[in-house]
């Protein structure tokens, strides 16, 4: 038997004090298999040991929340006995090392999280962050990640309906690949993971177990250095066809009442799935590892328990239902094996070749995982930059064109044309708008889905950035006419052992908490990815938020495209000239400076509720939230989408033209309406105390902004659509 030395303990990522705790719990030294199990269960990735204290402060409840954080995914009621089930998860480290497989298995993992709960996945989204465009690895990573996401989702037949992509040097050595899945289920057919029923069979289904991905969860909990490429063997390999079979087989079995509990094998594979099921059910489990379907000969208990082979599930069945379940999995040509049973011992007992190879208490291992209150320092908020602190541009048209063709604003069409975004036949708002919208099949309802985060705001002022990320998703859903319901969060940060990084985390959570509370928009699921650093340099703090909303009547949906000539264009919300951290400042003046725009949550709520009601009542012909790049970019995007220009009047503010057009003040929307309806909108806004102003009319094929700028829509289109292809296809 391998002797457990200090070096072996350290290689398993356990600190000395954590190892002391292991010895306390067991009252003896662990064997290597047991040490491996502790290592993954107590990894940052599985235990949330640095983040738990803060995650607990987020609001997670609302009358429509059926299941909040803690299960495989969050569940919200969307009416008529139906539920939306969703979650976002990171696959950052594997995607940097092996972009195609890393991204593909990230999609596979999040799909399993959703269909484990009984939902048929209906939409995939993603949030991607790459290094600066001219970094030598960026093109390779973009190409691999995009084809990996497409390769998996396209084969599964789940539409990938949108997402967001940023490029910034802070991600040069550590990209972010966050994948989100939304599924649909009936509220009375939702499956959970708590094992129950002493003596009930524990069943393994799906792919065979191989040696791939061993210690993936531990890798995800450490920083990168120059030797990270050597970690390639810890990246799993995806097989979307098998996952498609697993999806159909699971849903077919779920239509019966044979399942007691079910859990996918994701990070830390069989270890974390079996412990979580036992822990949630307050029971023990015994497993005979000889019965685990294996891809290769001679696998050790250590390897079997830590493998992260993909496309596998663990279930507890009702007694006597094995044959019925087996027939379904055999029909889909998948492995099905009874590998153990539920016990009343509260222990996880593993045997192989007739010998006991591990015997661990479940509750202490799962619940008594270390929890840290890491020291943190608050990020010093930089001074605001007001409109009048920025010089007036001497060529506003050139500035707008440059921004439309910049890495932040340019069209992502090159990416989403590689994703099948129409399969399943319910996509009624395709990528490129404020949020994607998919119909709830066979009903009048639809779900709106978006992912957002503005990392440069979070870096400058984590609290404001955290609040802004929540508010922007809420605004994007609102701009389609949907009622925002809840969010999933994917918290990507650097090394939490550094107080300034921990301070970013604490600040972002605080901002998110305030925004979720004020907007009645709880967090129902999420994931934390820490140690996103290479050689001691952390990424920009990136709390990626996935928001989901519902449209009761899908034909009330609004889009960003200008629709008709001579519609009235209105700006909702106040423009004060917030230029700090703006795209204008970065792209035109080369400065990444200042405070991010303030987030006024009561104003967000008031303005958003006004816009949503106006859309619902049929007064609005187009709507778009004003975000990166400010008013000028919002107008240009609406013109591009509708292939229709606009005539914008001279503004009446005392701001410079530059600040009026490019400030990134929050809580704003551009909407259009017929001239009769515009009068109604003005009246309604007055009553609701919402700042609103008629700023122009649609028409022609140019964007003319008073005497400030005149550009043809086709010139804007050229700049906007060419940037990414010219980067990638050269």
């Amino acid at each position: 038997m391998t002797e457990i030395t200090k070096e072996i303990v350290a290689e398993h990522g356990l600190s000395e004090s954590e190892y002391e705790r292991v010895l306390d719990i067991l009252g003896r030294e662990p064997n290597l298999t047991e040490l491996g199990i502790f290592s993954v269960m107590w990894s940052e990735h599985c235990s949330y040991k640095s983040s738990k204290k803060w995650l607990k402060t987020l609001p997670t409840e609302a009358p429509w929340v059926i299941c909040g954080p803690g299960e495989n995914a969050g569940v919200v009621d969307i009416g008529d006995g139906q539920a939306a089930i969703f979650k976002m998860e990171s696959h950052n480290h594997p995607s940097y090392i092996e972009p195609y497989q890393g991204a593909a298995t990230g999609v596979g993992g999040i799909l399993r999280d959703v269909f484990t709960m009984g939902a048929r996945p209906v939409a995939n989204m993603n949030a991607l962050r790459f290094g600066r465009p001219d970094h030598p690895k960026t093109r390779h990573l973009v190409s691999g990640v995009v084809s990996g996401i497409g390769g998996y989702g396209n084969c599964m037949g789940i539409p990938t309906v949108g997402g967001e992509t940023n490029f910034h040097s802070s991600y040069d050595g550590n990209i972010l690949v966050n994948a989100m899945t939304v599924g649909l289920a009936d509220t009375d057919k939702i499956f959970y993971s708590a094992a129950a029923g002493i003596g009930n069979p524990v069943v393994y289904v799906g792919s065979k177990t191989g040696r791939d991905g061993i210690h993936g969860a531990t890798m995800a909990s450490a920083e990168f250095d120059d030797d990270s490429e050597e970690k390639r063997p810890t990246v799993q390999v995806g097989d979307p066809f098998t996952e498609k079979l697993l999806l159909e087989a699971c849903l077919e079995l779920m239509a019966t009442d044979a399942i007691v509990a079910i859990q996918d094998m994701g990070a830390a594979g069989l270890t974390s799935s079996s412990f979580e099921m036992a822990d949630k059910g307050g029971v023990g489990i015994q497993l005979d590892l000889d019965n685990v379907p294996m891809r290769e000969e001679g696998m050790t208990p250590y390897e079997i328990m830590l493998s992260e082979s993909q496309e596998r599930m663990l279930m507890v069945l009702k007694p006597g239902r094995e044959d019925e379940a087996r027939a379904i999995f055999e029909k889909w040509e998948l492995d099905f094996s009874v590998i153990g049973s539920v016990t009343d011992t509260g222990r996880m007992v593993l045997t192989m070749h007739g010998e006991k190879v591990a015997d661990l208490p479940v509750a202490p291992l799962a619940d008594a995982a270390p929890e840290y209150d890491r020291p943190w320092v608050k990020t010093e908020a930089p001074a605001a930059i007001n409109g009048n602190d920025v010089a007036e541009s001497n060529d506003l048209g050139a500035a707008l064109l440059k921004i439309m063709g910049s890495s932040e604003i340019a069209s992502r069409k090159w990416i989403w044309e590689q994703y099948d975004h129409m399969v399943m036949g319910d996509t009624i708002q395709r990528p490129g708008g404020d949020a994607a919208v998919v119909r709830v099949h066979g009903t009048d309802k639809a779900l709106a889905i978006t992912t957002d985060c503005t990392p440069r705001y979070c870096y400058a002022d984590p609290e404001t950035g955290g609040a802004q990320a929540i508010a922007e998703t809420w605004r994007n859903l609102t701009a389609t006419g949907a009622t925002p319901l809840a969010v999933t969060d994917c918290m990507n940060f650097g090394n939490p052992e550094r107080p300034e990084i921990m301070g970013q985390f604490v600040g972002c959570i605080d901002g998110m908490r305030k925004a979720c509370t004020e907007l009645d928009y709880p967090v129902v699921s999420g994931n934390v990815s820490l140690y996103n650093e290479t050689n001691g340099t952390g990424i920009h703090p990136t709390p990626a938020i996935g928001g989901v909303g519902v449209l009761k009547q899908s034909d009330h949906m609004s889009t960003i495209a200008f629709k008709n000539e001579k519609d009235v264009i209105l700006l909702v919300g106040e423009t004060t000239g917030e230029m700090g951290q703006s795209i204008y400042l970065r792209e035109i003046e080369g400065r990444e400076e200042g405070a991010p725009p303030r987030v006024d949550l009561p104003a967000e709520k008031r303005n958003g509720d006004f816009v949503r009601a106006a859309i619902h009542d049929g007064l609005v012909t187009a709507s778009h939230d004003v975000a990166d790049g400010g008013l000028a970019v919002a107008l240009a995007e609406m013109a591009l989408a509708g292939n229709l220009g606009a005539e914008i009047f001279q503004h009446k503010t005392d701001l410079t033209h530059t600040a009026y057009l490019f400030a990134e003040d929050q809580a704003r929307y551009v909407i259009t309406s017929s001239s009769q309806d515009a009068e109604k909108l003005l009246e309604r806004a007055m009553e609701a105390g919402v700042p609103i102003e008629i700023i122009g009319t649609t028409g022609q094929n140019e964007l003319n902004i008073a005497d400030m700028l005149h550009i043809s829509v086709s010139d804007i289109r050229d700049r906007h659509s060419n940037w990414l292809p010219s980067l990638m296809d050269r």
Binding site: K244, D420, M422, T427
Partner: protein, 229 residues
């Protein structure tokens, strides 16, 4: 009118095709499992898009040898119309029901977008709802849609009115620029010699209402269903 849709384990446009058939016919379409060795009584067969058996080998290669496809080939030979979309088109070429093969897209990437298609040949059953030469807009979503056939086959397809659609621009010009995937002669869809089988890469079942972004797919499927009533 009874329609059947073939379902391979990796089919993923089977439901979309069923929905489109049912919308046009008002009658339920039957789903037929790949391992079955008999077709139900039907007068239209749909072979849907997807990844039949994973398609890690050559797209449609294994599906082409499945039990149900032997029956489909027989039934098609007796004149039953077949609509083979995307992966279904790939499967149809693998069985020899249609000539040629679908190779990897010239740009090596998956392509999902609406494309303009020139309606090339008359075939009332499938494209009677369009004028010959008209442009129809349908979405594509494929990685392997690059149609290839030898010169002799291409000449026959061109000469005998077997080309259904070509990738074009909005005005119906067929050029290298409009050839999204590198297909020989910009071919997006073809008929068999008897004209009862249409194989095409674009997905008519995806554009069947204004809410989905267009109705040219509905026009095609309505025409097909009406021809059987």
């Amino acid at each position: 009118m009874k329609a059947a849709v073939i379902v391979f384990p990796g089919s993923n446009c089977d439901r979309d095709m069923k929905v489109a058939f049912e919308q046009s016919s008002g009658k339920p379409a039957q789903m037929v499992w790949h391992a079955d060795s008999e077709l139900p009584d039907c007068d239209l067969i749909g072979i849907p898009g997807g990844f039949s058996y994973g398609d890690y080998l050559r797209c449609g290669a294994i599906a082409g040898n499945s039990p149900i496809m032997k029956e489909v080939v027989k039934k098609a030979a007796s004149g039953t119309p077949v609509l083979a979309v995307c992966n279904g088109f790939q499967v149809a070429t693998e069985t020899g029901m249609l000539p040629g093969a679908l190779l990897r897209n010239a740009n090596q990437k998956f392509i999902c977008k609406d494309v303009d298609l020139k309606v090339v040949s008359e075939n009332d059953r499938f494209v009677g709802g369009f004028e010959t030469g008209q442009v129809a807009r349908l979405p594509v979503a494929h990685h392997d849609g690059n149609y290839f056939a030898d010169d002799e086959t291409l000449a026959r397809l061109e000469g005998e009115g077997q080309i259904a659609f070509k990738y074009a621009d909005a005005d119906g010009n067929v050029t290298d620029e409009t050839n999204i995937n590198g297909s020989c002669n910009n071919i997006a869809g073809i008929y068999n010699q008897a004209g009862n089988i249409l194989g095409l890469m674009p997905h008519p079942e995806r554009l069947i209402s204004e809410q989905l972004g267009g109705t040219d797919g509905k026009t095609l499927i309505d025409t097909l269903i009406n021809s059987l009533n």
